[in-house]
Symmetry: C2
Subunit: 490 residues, 2 copies
């Protein structure tokens, strides 16, 4: 990850007030670090020197240094000065690419998923297992007020079955925002769902029949595996690199060997590996899928949580939606409790609407109305700028805490968005044993094997940084690292 | 249906204020009609005579007569006096029992269902096609205020993923109310769903695999058929009598002939036939299903809209839940826009929770909190007393309008609850042609063939009386009857 994104995010903010002097200085320092002039661990010029050099007050320089210290870019050492922090993930290697499994398998993961989710929602545990930002970070109050207003003023009007496609105003707001993903959508292209979970469930049900095979990256989100299990679908786990994504040549060989009904991908800052495939690789994958007539179900639920100036280009923008069913939601970025997701199903629209009707008839009306009001107010952009910065800081904290406390052989992902890290320990490490030991200490995380139908990745874990960073969480990571170290040495 | 329910409902009301003198007199008259002392069409004693006989003022007697006129119990004839109205369904025969089909069939109904729902939600059409009460009848304002309060005061706290089983307080309130259906439930027995549609979808997915056969009454709710289609299930349409319900002996023979994965029934005032099987028949059906190890999926979404003093006993109360997955919702009785349903899945709890997790993760939190608050306030009981009376009046109006305008050979159901009538025209009548002609006149209803996978019942239609009764609706029924008459004669 690139610390220059601090600056670029600011530039991307558009019509925000001009930055203060100390913010301008902070951005300059970040640039200097990014372009390599200042290296990790290097001491910064003294406050006085910078003050004189730039003709600004000492307090302004101090303000800039402290801002960067808060953000984890600089480290203050007493009686010594400010130093460039070790960059995120700088001291640990990236996770290894997953290996090929050439056979599709049935899935049997529901018990493990249910058990994990129960622990992950237990507020008594240090929350490293939850793939959702804390309500305190999300600060949904403006949205909640919009809901209160809609209920009080127009409750009667909205106490009807909505259309299966969802509230027309919300679909219009979503299609307006679609310009930002680089793909034009009309309100009629969008179907509102009960979170992204219903979106990809409808998509899978629309394109596949029980017994069919669905290709996924590996490791993959356990919720995908769970839905595949319930729909009676088989899974083909594709070898995946933490930077390049799916190994396309291997996938091509698998497609030649047997039919695949769809490819299901978390496309931006994927859960759990944090991959965003480079655009060129995305195009190769789309071309491969098109050649074989295999639709792509794209889950872009983390796409709005990008730390770089631009969000990753989703697949749907690269193939013009020709072969893509695009799924997203507001659960990771604003309102997990509202359960509002959506799908742009392209040529599968009729099948998806049919299934929406059959599975849940329509979505609750008032939460949709509130979200439409919130989006129309323009508040979402400022909200996301704030949230991205907070989650980027969280990930930086989490990375440094892992570097400081896990065994030196640990590998860790370096996602450019989202709020989860994939942590790989040496082969033979048992994250299930770590999970049990951690629960004893009041710490929850997601053990690696729930991210695979073949229960691989037992030496891995996913740690989430969706909660407001705190002493308690930092201490939790530290103790987890110590536990891992003890287990590793024993 | 029994006009005495007016009185009994009042008695059942509990702690309401004592009735006025004119209301007491009205109840006495209703009793006199119910016990046969006054027959349909008979003239009532003059206002003066009753005044003298009971020692009450003439205006009080007039008030009582007018109240009963408003409710459709009496008819005023100018210069003549008040007469007992023809009782509901009194002049037309009941629909005939449906016939046996001995083979299960695949379902292909989604296009017809989607088209019907689109017309049914078009506010420009006279709304005889909608199986949901009008927002003006439902008057959800208190619930909406509870939602506004919850959002404003506790939005942050609830902006999290709920548990897949649903809000604990709502489950407690629902289980408290379960005493009224005669079956004890604990909060842990209940899973909250996105309306009853998700409830029966989860139930079907939990007990059946694609290709399996599901037995339903015939005609049956088209939403059932649609979900069966999407889940790849076959349907076995059971011969059904409008009074006795499913023909159990025929079902027994079918069960001997081939496997059935589940029986799916709308159990109280079924949609569209209006059946509530007598308890003895229910027990026979349960015994038959138990012998064959076939679970019963019971949809009791209309059960709270009973006109008699007591609601029908649901199957779950008769078998203690041993073999029943009980589904319900608040969509027909309070809040279609909120999409809150529930299921008591009994021994299939784990499978149902697994599927809830896989299909939609969890339900939106704030609507559940609002509904829990509303139920805890005790407001639901008064709400339902009011709504039952309104819907009973609506059905009476609709029945009389049908009697007055449809061909004399028309048969019509006489449900003791709910708000829909099943109208059967002579064999050869084409309700699809009527549907098209009615749309031209701005009138929507549900043609009979969407209630059957084999597209039977083309000579039938379902008319709903969920909208506030009005000149416009009365006129719509009248014109529909005239259209039907012209088509019948031609």
């Amino acid at each position: 990850m690139n610390t220059g994104t601090l600056q670029r995010n600011r530039q991307a903010a558009g019509n925000v007030p001009a930055p203060h002097r100390y913010e301008q200085l902070a951005e300059l320092i970040v640039d200097t670090i990014d372009n390599g002039t200042l290296a990790p661990g290097e001491r910064l010029p003294s406050v006085r020197a910078v003050s004189e050099q730039h003709g600004i007050s000492i307090s302004t320089v101090l303000q800039a240094y402290r801002l960067l210290e808060d953000r984890g870019v600089l480290v203050a050492r007493p009686q010594s000065g400010f130093y460039v922090a070790a960059t995120q993930g700088g001291t640990l290697a990236l996770p290894s690419a997953s290996r090929l499994r050439s056979k599709a398998s049935t899935v049997s993961i529901s018990g493990a998923v249910a058990a994990l989710l129960e622990h992950a929602s237990n507020p008594a545990l240090v929350p490293l297992g939850c793939a959702v930002p804390d309500a305190a970070l999300l600060r949904s109050h403006r949205l909640d007020l919009a809901l209160a207003r809609a209920a009080r003023q127009h409750g009667d009007r909205h106490n009807v079955y909505g259309t299966p496609r969802g509230d027309p105003r919300l679909r219009r707001e979503i299609s307006r925002r679609a310009m930002r993903i680089g793909h034009a959508l009309s309100p009629d292209d969008v179907v509102i769902t009960n979170g992204c979970t219903e979106a990809f469930t409808l998509a899978l049900s629309a394109v596949a029949r029980p017994g069919d095979t669905i290709a996924v990256e590996s490791p993959t989100y356990f919720g995908f595996l769970h839905t595949l299990e319930v729909l009676g679908l088989k899974v083909l786990e594709l070898p995946t690199d933490p930077v390049e994504g799916i190994h396309i040549e291997a996938f091509a060989r698998l497609l030649d060997a047997g039919p695949v009904a769809a490819c299901l991908l978390s496309s931006s800052f994927s859960n759990p590996l944090g991959v965003s495939m480079p655009d060129a690789r995305k195009r190769e994958l789309l071309a491969l899928l098109a050649r074989h007539g295999v639709p792509l179900i794209e889950d872009d639920v983390y796409g709005d949580i990008h730390f770089a100036r631009e969000r990753p280009t989703p697949f749907i923008a690269l193939d013009g939606g020709a072969n893509t069913l695009y799924c997203s939601s507001f659960s990771k970025s604003l309102a997990p409790g509202y359960r509002v997701g959506w799908i742009a199903p392209g040529k599968y629209a009729q099948q998806v609407v049919d299934r929406k009707l059959a599975f849940s008839l329509c979505s609750p009306v008032l939460p949709q109305v509130a979200l439409a009001d919130f989006l129309a107010s323009g508040a979402y952009d400022a909200h996301m700028r704030r949230l991205r910065r907070l989650l980027e800081e969280n990930l930086r904290h989490l990375t440094r805490a892992i570097e400081a406390s896990f065994p030196a052989e640990t590998r860790v992902s370096r996602p450019a968005g989202g709020f989860a890290l994939w942590v790989e320990l040496p082969r033979g490490f048992d994250s299930r044993a770590l999970f049990d030991a951690a629960l004893e200490l009041g710490i929850c995380f997601a053990p690696g094997d729930v991210f695979s139908a073949s229960r691989r990745f037992r030496n891995c874990l996913r740690l989430s940084a969706g909660w407001r960073w705190s002493e308690r969480i930092e201490e939790g990571v530290r103790r987890l690292g110590q536990l891992a170290g003890r287990q590793h040495r024993s």
